[in-house]
Structure formats: structure tokens, C-alpha cells
Assembly symmetry: C2
Amino acid sequence: MSPRGRRPAGENARGAILEAAREQFAEHGYDRTSLRGIARGAEVDPRLVHHYFEGGKAELFAEVMHAPVNPAAFIADVVAGPPEDIGRQLVRTFLGVWDDPDNQSALLALVRSGLTNEGITDQLRGFVEQGLLGQIMQAHPVTAGLPLRERRRRAGVIGVQMLGLIISRYVVELPGVADAPAATLVERIGPIIQAQLDS
Amino acid sequence: MSPRGRRPAGENARGAILEAAREQFAEHGYDRTSLRGIARGAEVDPRLVHHYFEGGKAELFAEVMHAPVNPAAFIADVVAGPPEDIGRQLVRTFLGVWDDPDNQSALLALVRSGLTNEGITDQLRGFVEQGLLGQIMQAHPVTAGLPLRERRRRAGVIGVQMLGLIISRYVVELPGVADAPAATLVERIGPIIQAQLDS
DNA sequence: TGCTTTATTCATCACATGATGAAATATATG
DNA sequence: CATATATTTCATCATGTGATGAATAAAGCA
């Protein structure tokens, strides 16, 4: 087809590969995505994928996933407001991140792959334990003073809300959740979370 | 190794295959599970898998998944009690099904595979729409009279609880959820659902 | 200009996968 | 006992996968 050597500039293959990878990882998850499929999607020779990402599929995935969102900043944003609004603010910030098209495909890929992958679930669990239980609940006057056992329980219920929200809205696409405006969900789920804090 | 022909009886290869398949589908999901891996797990020649399940991997999966739980009976169980207890009863029945070791691996397989598989999500969505929105909410005096739009929204929140519960307890295994006794979760999540019904 | 680096294509490897045909042997049936 | 049938192993196939070496051509630099 094309002549053999370097193309006459302005092609940006690397970018095309990353974009195709993001799309396909998000849509099919890690396993069902192949390097050759990505190359096809990027209209590029498969060898190029290895050329730019020498670590192969794993590195490409890592690159796509790389810090789609900064957990520290996320937490900071949530605890910035008044304690009686943490529940709503958590949902608001959360949906803000997930509804952002820049993050969405990466996050979706993470979830779609992570649920079968073992090891990414560790990451999720860690985030819930440290960020949620360790920081957000410390920022609330009521939960901060609770015994660990009780804090764990409440953090669990909050985790259920978050995970349920992701899966319902972005993966399974439940009607009434996937098609609801973010503000509606903030009003529906926020108070449920808040109740776990205020007691 | 073994001689070529039929083994001297009492081996029950078919059962071993099914068991190994159930395990591996549950642990790794559909994609990461191979026929050869199943055969290895069942200590059986790979050809046997095809011999007993001529449809191959798809039929084997279908067989393993075959009606792990009857939705109609499930719904009937939930709406059997008084309306003011539907929330708790829903969680109770739900956990009863999922905590049963007979069902668990099949259900896990379904979820682990379904979230990347596109098409099983349809099934999930359908169950939530028909069973939850169409039947359970009809059985409650308050929600039965609500306009469809509002019913959808509430069903959505309930769906979030159910999906969140599955993912948190069985897939991600959040502390505070995975290790909680069923009764605790009934008391924690049940009222949240009930509130969506009573209004 | 000439040399080096980078980008791109082509040609393969080794391997795992799902699938199928054929041979061998135990059990079931007449 | 003879014959059919069910169960098992072996031997392959075609395909798709991730990976690598080598050739070629443009771009960058001396």
C-alpha cells in the first residue's frame, strides 16, 4: 500500500494510537482489546504500537489510565464546603469528574477492566478506605469521633452508593440514572450519604 | 499417559467439567476463561469439553448460567410481606440468593462477564425495569399511584442500591460490606430503599 | 553536504485459542 | 457372544495474539 519508510510529516500516529486505545479499552475492557485492533482503529501499522509503547499492551493501558483524576484534589474539593453538605458535594464532584468526556473513557476502561482483573479492585478498595474512610469522614464532626468499627460500616454504605452510581449510570446505563441530569442525582443520592455522616 | 479409550466407569467427566467451568467463569469472567483451562481444571482432555457441550464455550457458559435464580419467585418473595417492609425484604431476599454458595459462583460469573460483555447488561436492565419498576413498585400503595417519570427516578435509586451492593460485597469486596452479616446490611440498606417507596 | 536518528512498513516467530476428524476402548444392548 | 454406542485420547487446523528483526524513507543535525 503505502511506501515503506517514514511518512511526510504531520501524521501524528502516536496520538491516533492513544485515542484508539482509549476508545477500545473503554468500550471492551482490557482483555477484549488487542494491539492489532487498536492499530486498525488508528489506521496504523501494528508494529508502530510497539514502537511507541515498548512495554506493549500493559504500558499502553497504563498510559491511557495515567492519573485520569488526582485523588488528593478530589478529596480536597469534597471537604472544602461545610460538613452538612459533604454528601451532596461528594456526589457533585464525583459526577463532575465522571461526566467530563476527557476522563470518562479512561475511567470506564478502568472499571470495565478492573472488575475482572483482580488488582485494580485493590486500588478501588484502597481509595475507598483511605480517601473516604480516612479523610472525608475525619472532616465531619460526627463521624470523626466514632469508633472505627462504626465508621467502617458507614463508609461501606457510602461506598455502595458510589459504586452503585458508577455501574448504574455508566456501565449498565439504568434508565432513571443514566439519563438523569447530574443535579437530580446530587439531590437523590447526596442526602443518603449525608445521613450516614450526620446520624 | 492414560490409555486411549473409555475410562473404567465412575469418573463423571461431565460433572467435573461443569464444576471447573463454574469456578473459572466466576473467578475470571468469560473472556479470561479458556476451554483448555477448564479441561485442565477438570483434569480431562480438552476434546471432552466439546464432546459434552457441542456449542463450545458459549453453550458451556449458558449451561453454567442456566437460571441460577427464578426472577418471578424472587419478586413474589419480596412482595409477599407488608408494604412497609418491602425495602428490607428486598435486601433480605437478595442477599439470601447471593450468599447461597450454590448460586454465588454462577451469579458472580454473570456479573464479572456481563460488565464487559454488552448484552448481559441488557438482561440486568430488563430485570430492573420489569421486576423492580413494573412489579415491586406496583405492590406499594404510594409508588403505585406515582407518574411514570417519578417512578423511574425512584427505581433508579433502588437500582443503585442493588448494583452497589453486589459490586461492593462480592466483586470489590469493600470492608464494611463484604464482611458484614446479611442482617446488618438489611438494616442499613433496607430503610434507604424503603424511603424511596414511602416518600 | 553527509550522517544519524526517527518513523514506518514488511516479514516472521512462538504460542494459545477454539474447533474438528479419527482412532481406541469400555459399557450397554441385542 | 456380537454388535452398537458412549466415552476418551491423539493429532491436527486455521486463526488471532503479542513480540521482534530487518529494510526503507523522511527529518534532523553536523
